[in-house]
Symmetry: C2
Subunit: 145 residues, 2 copies
DNA sequence: CTAGATGCAAAGACTTTGCGCGACC
DNA sequence: GGTCGCGCAAAGTCTTTGCATCTAG
């Protein structure tokens, strides 16, 4: 299942004439498999397990490339840096724990309708959106009370 | 009407024992009146009209304080820096032009219900959310086509 | 072979911090 | 008059860029 996603991204790179270097493949692997929306640092850390000389700059470049291609979703936070979602690179809600930082996905129907409503009322032509929910995850709620 | 909002923020500062310096009042004034979600730089620029010696650091400090107090909403963007909404410091959708950067507010009913649904399905206790729509504003749509 | 990618280090953008002077209460 | 806030400059963080070397196709 994440293999399928990996193949998709790999294919997209090939089609556009980008090279499939080991470092890139490693980054793709991490993004295609991580359900936990890793930061650049975390991706770097993981990739280093297989390619210890990989630089942070390469991670940044690769992630940026994938973002431009629309194969990864960037979740930028003001106080937090960015997290990346390579498994579902289309708009969908995220639920973020304000205590431990866990980020989980959530599917939600009906945003298309809301989007249309906003478009009608504001006169903007809406291309995409972003929706985040913040709160305490079950584990942290138990801990902190 | 923005006078009312200004009074609210001023009051909140007083209650917590913070001083009402001219610089702070100037920042409050900008935030309470700007419908266009200014950046720190823009606030600084405006405040300088009345207090030319005001430093950027002071703007940062004041905005940060107001954010902590919940009197201003920070809209952080990954490629864009942050914008601030001092008029409606509670969660509500924003519509952002990807061409010119205009940010407008939009009221939307029904988020409370969705929030509850997300809470039920994920087990998180949701405290707030953020919703942004991206697209072209009417003016830019006409220009770029 | 050769255009494109990597790794390193330096440069950038944005934001925060430390500190001595000055001003609100 | 004492404390809190201001302005300045320095330090931090995160991200991008330039360039020589290396490599996938």
């Amino acid at each position: 299942m994440s293999q399928r996603r990996l193949d998709q991204i790999t294919q997209a790179l090939k089609e556009r004439g980008y090279r499939l270097t080991p470092q890139r493949l490693a980054v793709l692997g991490v993004l295609a498999q991580s359900p936990d929306h890793p930061s650049v640092e975390e991706i770097h850390h993981q990739v280093r397990r297989d390619f210890p000389t990989t630089s942070l700059a390469t991670i940044y470049k690769t992630v940026h490339l994938l973002k431009e291609m629309g194969e990864v979703l960037e979740l930028g936070f003001a106080d937090w840096g960015s997290r990346y979602d390579g498994r579902r690179p289309y708009p969908h809600p995220h639920v973020i724990c304000t205590q431990c930082g866990a980020v989980v996905d959530h599917e939600l129907a009906g945003m298309a309708d809301i989007s249309r409503e906003v478009s009608d009322k504001t006169g903007y032509s809406i291309s995409h959106h972003r929706l985040d929910f913040f709160g305490l995850c079950p584990r942290c709620r138990a801990t902190v009370k």
